[in-house]
Every structure is written in C-alpha cells, then in structure tokens.
C-alpha cells in the first residue's frame, strides 16, 4: 500500500525529529523537566548559526561548530540561574517558567530578526541525492538521520561508559541518595541542560538547511519532539530515536494518503501507541 520510497522518506524525517527530541529526552529523563522552550531554543540556535555565518562568511557547518559551545554555556546559565530554582515535585513552576521563556525567546527573535522566513544555505549538497537501490535519497536527509544515530550513540556512550553518565543515571533514579554519594544534582542538571543545548544546535543546523524557518515555528517542532520522547519511553535514548522514526513514518504515510493528513497522522499514531502502552515503548526510568 505504501511505496518503499514513502517508507524511506519517513525514516529520514524521523531522523530530524529524533534530533529535535534527543536533548529534550536527556533533560526530561534526568530531571523530569518539561522544557516548553526547547523548540524555541532550537530556533534560537538556527538564528545563531545564521548570524555567525553572515558575520564571518563561513558555511553553516563551521558556524554550527562555533554555536555548539555557545549553546552549552547558555544551557549551563539557564539551568543554574533559573531552572534549578523551580525544579521540584510540582511540575507547574518549571512548566510556567519555560513557557514564559518560550514567549520571551519568540518575541525577542521577532523584534531582532522580523517575521521574515530565513534559511541556512548549505551549498550544492542541499540538492544532491544518491540512488540507493530503487530509491533516490537526498544527501542532506541521509546526513540528518546518520547524525541523529551518531548523537544518540554518543549520548548513550556518555550515559553508560563515563563517570558523568553514572552521575546522570544515579541522579535520575534517586537524587537524594545520589547526593549522599557526593554528587551535586544541581551541577549534574546544569551539565545535562548544557549538553541538551549542544544537541539543539546540531538540530538547528539541519532544521535551518532543510527548510525555511521563522521565529514562530518552535512550539510545533517541540510537540513532535515531545511525542518522540514519550513514545520512546522515559530515559531511553534509543527509544527516543524509535519514537522520532514512528512520528516520521506516520507523517509521511499520512501524507501519502492525503497531503492534508500529514501532521494529523503523526498525532494519531502517538495517541494509539499511548493507549496501548501508557509509559511508551521502552521505558528505562520510572516516572
């Protein structure tokens, strides 16, 4: 019923959504923080890359490399100065603070860059494609999926093979006991948000080269990212990749039936999966 092409395109789109969601998954898994500003932070990253590119004339890929440490610093500051103060049992304070942040970032970008849509120019690679068997695959979408897999792999190595990762997992499971073992949760949280924003900068690169963006597109991207995280299961990074692919596949399949059904099909897939598995496909941590 669906052509092989549709399925491949869905997989590739899923890579982009997994990139949107990876940083969110890290933050959500470790501190149960619902960051409603994550989508706008990705858009902010795209404008940062655009600004660096126009100022120095370098390619978006080089500009993204410079944007990554800057975004890390922003994440660190955001967590230590703002978010650490509102984290707690009650989910409402962080929800409100991040939604306030979302409104501030959106309208700040609007004031600075106007509502005109922009695009990151990546050069000839944008239009390039390769034939894989019977399917034509765009080089950029393929790179997006490959990057998503690499990011998830990297985060997993960090999570399961390093002392920092052990601290992440310990804090995620039981912050109070972790504290007794000499871990300072507040610093761990700041590291996590910093890393999440580095991933957001990578996501911004692919968002900006793939299609036009403007200050208002953050929240819709955020919703796809949240769906990917929740479908995957709390605290599972591979699950997040799977969740992104589920949303991507559902959207391209919906669009193949009727172009107006693309987004709707993604949401419906989310509801159906959660009806069967309310904690997602591969939950690692307990909410």
């Amino acid at each position: 019923m669906f052509s092989l092409d549709t399925i491949v395109q869905g997989l590739l789109l899923g890579g982009l959504y997994a990139l949107f969601a990876a940083g969110l998954s890290l933050v959500f898994g470790i501190m149960r923080l619902v960051n409603l500003a994550h989508g706008d932070l990705i858009v902010l990253g795209a404008y940062l890359i655009l600004g660096l590119g126009t100022a120095t004339g370098m390619s978006p890929f080089a500009a993204a490399l410079i944007a990554m440490p800057l975004m890390f610093a922003l994440g660190w500051l955001l967590q230590t100065r703002l978010l650490n103060r509102v984290l707690g049992e009650d989910i409402l304070p962080p929800l409100l603070v991040t939604s306030g942040l979302s409104v501030v970032i959106q309208n700040g970008l609007l004031a600075a860059f106007t509502a005109d849509s922009r695009k990151l120019a990546a050069g000839p690679v944008e239009a390039a494609s390769v034939a894989v068997g019977p399917v034509q695959m765009g080089v950029m979408p393929a790179m997006t999926l490959a990057t998503a897999v690499a990011v998830i792999l990297g985060l997993n190595l960090l999570f399961y093979r390093t002392a920092l990762g052990r601290a992440f997992r310990a804090t995620s499971d039981d912050a109070v006991t972790a504290q007794l073992m000499g871990i300072r949760p507040q610093r761990i949280f700041a590291m996590a948000t910093g890393i999440a924003l580095v991933v957001a900068a990578i996501a911004a690169l692919y968002l900006g080269t793939r299609a036009n963006f403007d200050p208002s597109i953050g929240p819709a991207r955020l919703l796809y990212a949240f769906e990917a995280v929740i479908i995957g299961g709390l605290g599972s990074l591979w699950g997040t990749l799977a969740g992104g692919v589920v949303i991507g596949l559902a959207q391209t399949m919906g669009a193949a039936i009727n172009p107006e059904w693309q987004i709707l099909a993604g949401h419906v897939a989310f509801v159906l999966i959660l009806m069967v598995r309310p904690r997602g496909l591969f939950p690692r941590a307990i909410d």
Binding site: R32, R85, I91, S99, L223, V268, M275, P278
Partner: protein
C-alpha cells in the same frame, strides 16, 4: 486564625462589583464594552483552568481544544442548522463536555508531564480534524452569515430599551452574557469547592494517599472537574466567536490565546485561590493597556513577569497578599467541628 472579614462582606463586595460592571454599557463607550468583553471571557477561561490545575491538580495545556470545539459547534449550529447563535453557544458547551469524555479516556491514563503533553496533542488533533470540515471552510475558515448577530435572540429588546444601533446592542448583550458567565462560574466554583465533593478534591490535592484512605475516589472527582470545566470553556468559546464573527482552526484552537495567556493570568494572580484569577486578569488588562504601543515588547514583559512571579512569589500576587495579611475573600475553609458537641457519652 480569625477571619479579617465577616462572611457577608465579600458577598456585598462581589454584588457591588458586579453591579458596577453591569452598568458599564449604559455609560461607557462601545470600544470599552468590547475590550471588557474580551477580558471577561479570559476570566471565565482562567476560572475554569484554575479549577483544573489549581484544585484538581490536572495541569492541562490543551484547553484550547474546548474553546475551539465550542466555537465550531456554534458556527455549525448557525450555518448548517439555522439555529440562533445563543442556542449554538449552549450546544457548544454541551458538545465540548461530550467530547471531553473520549479526551479524558486518553489523557487520564497519563501522569503529570505526560498528561500535559497528552492534552496538547488532543487539542492539535481537534484543530487538524476540524480543518478538514469543508462545510465550515476547512483550513481557511469561514464567517458568520451577515446579520446573524443583528437577529440574535434579545438584541431587538436591548436595542429598543437603550435606543442604540443593532451592532452596539449585540455587543452589549454579549457583554452581559459574559459577565453572567463569570458570575455563574465563580458561584459554581465556590459552591462546588465548599461542598463535600470539593472538600474531597482539596484533600486529594493536599495528600492523595490520606484522601484515598478515608474513601475519596480521585479519578471520579477529577474526571467530574474535567467534564465541568470543558462545559464552561466550551460555552466561553462559542460566546467569544459570536463577537469575533470569523473562525479559522488556527484562531479557534490557539495555544497562545486560550491557554498560555490563561496560564499566566492564573499563576500571576494566585493559583488555587478563587480571587487569584480575578487579580491576574486585572493585572493582565493593565499591562496590555500600558504596553499596547510596543508590539512584541508587551509579550516579552508578560513572559518575564510570569517567570519573576514563579521565582519570587510562588503563590502569586493574591496568594502572597492573603498569606501575609490573613485577608480572605471567598474563603474555602470550614470551621472545625466543636469537640464538645461531637463527643457524646
């Protein structure tokens, strides 16, 4: 602690405030009536969201679903069935409440943050689904037929009585209906929270385990609040879009207009208190007037203000004030039973 106000004072104050507000259309200009109509509708949404998040612990970010469903039902009633818009509003509330049942079946399986995201997804599904309804304009939306508000029930009498134009009469009528909806919502909230059910709800919020131990069923109570607030929110959606006269899926299901602003109003004013949303809405209106010339700066200030309240006055302006002074309007507490009369030999 002794109550600073005797019980009848807040009631007298509320009656006075309502009377003053009811007289605004008789003396104020039409633009003011329209502005205040918007503010009163925002207050209805805020009172409903406060019941959900502040008292039932259901942090929904998808209440725009019920605004949109109420609005679309009203449009369908007028355009497809030729009903009076006001009948459409009532129908809108009922349809919103009916559709809240399947939504609840989905989102009640989810906890905390998952619940919030689940409600948002449900609202998006409603928005995209109604965008497919070609009879109501699909994705580009449609307008109310010309003269709909002029022929609305009651407009004729208001016109005759006050000697104003049809357009002004319909504005005034909608304004009074919004004011009535505010008062009804406030009275219903107060009565509900003071009742046995409301006591159970607050007991769950304060300690879910202890509440269950004394026989309070959290799911049933929360589901009841979810359905009732969907009704109130749906009514408000229908009313709002009679005045707006044009509907699109994006406007009817706007996350920013019908949920994000509402969230700010409630939290800045004081979540989990009845006067909180009123204080919040007054402040919101003042900020809007003060900064209306600066475009997006207004939203930046609003966002920063919300963040500041969360950092420095977690209970909101009203919550902090009443916590410091012991002042209570619309108190929800019950006097403890007199031990002498409770113990019988």
């Amino acid at each position: 602690m002794k109550n600073a106000f005797p019980a009848y004072r807040p009631l007298a104050l509320a009656v006075l405030a309502a009377a003053v507000l009811a007289m605004v259309p008789l003396i104020g200009p039409r633009a003011m009536v329209q502005d205040l109509f918007g503010i009163l509708c925002l207050l209805v949404l805020a009172l409903n969201w406060n019941m959900l998040a502040g008292f039932a612990g259901l942090v929904s970010v998808g209440q725009q679903a019920f605004v949109g469903i109420g609005a679309y039902t009203m449009f369908a009633a007028v355009i497809l069935f030729g009903l009076d818009p006001l009948a459409g509003v009532l129908l809108g509330g009922l349809v919103a409440m009916a559709l809240a049942v399947p939504v609840a079946c989905f989102v009640f399986r989810l906890n905390g943050a998952y619940f919030a995201i689940g409600t948002w997804v449900a609202a998006e599904i409603a928005r995209l689904g109604l965008g497919q309804w070609k009879a109501l304009g699909g994705g580009t939306g449609t307008s109310l037929p010309k003269g709909t508000t002029r022929d609305m029930l009651g407009v004729g009498s208001v016109k005759e009585w006050l000697g104003v134009s049809s357009a002004a009469a319909s504005d005034i009528l909608l304004y009074w209906l919004a004011l009535g909806l505010v008062l009804a919502t406030l009275a219903a909230s107060w009565a509900f929270l003071r009742s046995r059910l409301g006591l159970g709800l607050q007991a769950i919020r304060d300690n879910a385990m202890a509440a269950r131990a004394v026989g309070v069923d959290p799911v049933r109570l929360k589901a009841l609040v979810f359905l009732l607030t969907a009704f109130g929110t749906g009514l408000c959606g229908g009313l709002l879009f009679i005045q707006i006269t044009r509907i699109t899926p994006d406007a009817a299901f706007s996350l920013l207009d019908w949920t994000a602003f509402v969230l700010f109003v409630v939290v800045i004013g004081g979540i989990g208190t009845l006067p909180g949303p009123i204080v919040g809405v007054v402040l919101f209106y003042a900020l809007e007037r003060l900064l209306s010339d600066y475009g997006s700066a207004y939203l930046i200030v609003l966002g920063l203000f919300g963040i500041a309240v969360m950092l420095f006055a977690r209970r909101g302006l009203w919550g902090s004030l009443s916590g410091r002074t012991g002042l209570e309007l619309l108190p929800l507490g019950h006097r403890a039973p007199d031990p002498a009369s409770a113990v019988r030999p």
